[in-house]
Symmetry: C2
Subunit: 302 residues, 2 copies
């Protein structure tokens, strides 16, 4: 674990992939006397008074209940599950103010466990039918897949790669804001990577589309699983040779160049910092730390 | 462009995202006198005698034909399209021997254009029905999305992140082979990244699952769009402190440690090299180049 480790990472769970498709092994896990089930409140986690996840035993579950469990993994040999939640699936499960409040209380490993659970629950809700033939699909592989009842196609949990980046010009970094954000908040620009693109190409395209700057060199910094609903955030820094901005106002409300000193002040909690940071559990926060203190970032990774 | 640039990258196309959802702009592109349509043979590209992609005009297309076009992008202002191909979608479009033969002839930019086209065609074929409600979906946004005719859900082209990596122990790198590969071929280990994982965590998990080695530090090297059907290959090097192997024989037929000299010999075309390389258009090839000549890789990126 490094000082700049992103939120939702650092899980100690063994994902136990080989056991997921093994009916006998899975049955044994369900019989395990210490097997644990994650308690949710709606789609948010229940918390103990110390801000930890709440787990129960599997006692009292019906056969139908256990057939709808997702195996999150093993912790010191003890299986941990979450139950598939019914939801309308009209839209993916985004954050609510309540979700953000709860996230601010969770420790890093609990956050990683919860994030995985939430991404999987959402994926099941949005893949109840087969994209190839339109028939119903059923949960299989301990929640790590669905199978079509008609054509037999297998579907696997989806992860959508997103690039998130700072443009860098000399000693300044480019941050932007959306109109819907809290007043004063600025963060790294971001966008979905498309078929046919490398990470580096997607970074360059998004920076040009959103801010009108041309990346001359892109370096990868770190990554994060973002569970609203299931993004892989690929955090990068892109050098630009011309700092002239041309902001796509349908995407961004504003974008500004900030000096390293200004970013450090915000990260250090200066009450008169020039902007409000993204939340600590967002990879944009980790990316700003890496950019603000590159030597410490190198030391941490060594 | 660097000497170690991965295959399927380096496209000069402007993807023109803002035009995709703009009916008027799209109509103008379809009327463009130089508008170009990619010629395919099945799902493989047709080639000129010089090994270039073949393009035709849009003359003679019906309204139904133009409604099924995918806008690949603009090249010097000229729109380039590919037509949605009907296919059974029983399985994703994997490579065939014919595909591989054609790929070996294409230049890098044509390869990138074709890869994007192929990923999109395959995605449409496997998403003809809505995962949320099971109703039919229709192409929209110039081929960069589908919309459900019943619930209105929008679906966007999928990219699946895959980690591909060399374990590194001192001056040696770990390569493995699958039983189905040509005799003597070894390549980097790889696997799909799962919900809830960072790139670095997925690399560590896959190396332990497949080869029994524990990564102590992971560094990102480069990335590639792999269009069979639509992977984002995230290429990394992972340092390990213990080189003892425990090979998952259901996944790998064999895995071996190779010295830098042995990898360089293979890359230099030595006829008695210890192993056969992955194809030049595979990111594993670029990853081996980066690992074999780290100083050149750094110089190239600067």
């Amino acid at each position: 674990m490094t000082p700049f480790q992103p939120g939702f990472s650092g899980s100690l769970f063994d994902r136990a992939d080989p056991l997921r498709g093994d009916a006998e092994a899975l049955s044994a896990l369900l019989q395990h006397p210490q097997a644990r089930l994650l308690q949710l409140q709606g789609f948010d986690p229940a918390l103990t008074s110390e801000g930890a996840l709440v787990w129960h035993g599997l006692q009292g579950l019906t056969e139908a209940d256990t057939a709808a469990l997702i195996l999150l993994g093993l912790l010191q040999g003890v299986p941990h599950f979450v139950a598939l939640q019914q939801h309308s699936a009209e839209a993916p499960l985004y954050r609510t103010p309540r979700t953000m409040e709860v996230l601010s209380l969770l420790g890093p490993q609990d956050m990683a466990t919860y994030g995985t659970a939430r991404s999987l629950i959402d994926w099941h809700g949005r893949h109840r039918f087969c994209g190839k033939c339109g028939a119903a699909t059923l949960l299989q592989r301990a929640g790590w897949g669905r199978r079509c009842v008609a054509c037999g196609s297998e579907h696997f949990p989806r992860v959508d790669p997103v690039v998130i980046m700072l443009a860098e010009h000399g000693d300044r970094a480019l941050l932007g804001r959306h109109a819907s954000w809290p007043a004063g908040r600025y963060s790294a620009l971001a966008g979905f990577l498309e078929p046919g693109e490398t990470v580096e190409e997607a970074v360059a395209r998004e920076l040009f589309e959103e801010a009108g700057v041309r990346a001359s060199r892109v370096r990868y910094v770190t990554s994060q699983a973002w569970p609203f609903p299931a993004q892989l955030m690929l955090a990068c820094i892109a050098e630009v040779t011309d700092d002239t901005l041309n902001i796509a106002t349908d995407e961004l409300e504003d974008a500004i160049w900030l000096s390293r000193a200004e970013v450090r002040a915000a990260l250090a909690g200066d009450p008169v910092a020039r902007f409000l940071l993204p939340p600590v559990y967002a990879v944009a926060h980790s990316l700003l730390q890496h950019w603000a203190w590159p030597d410490e970032a190198k030391g941490a990774a060594a």
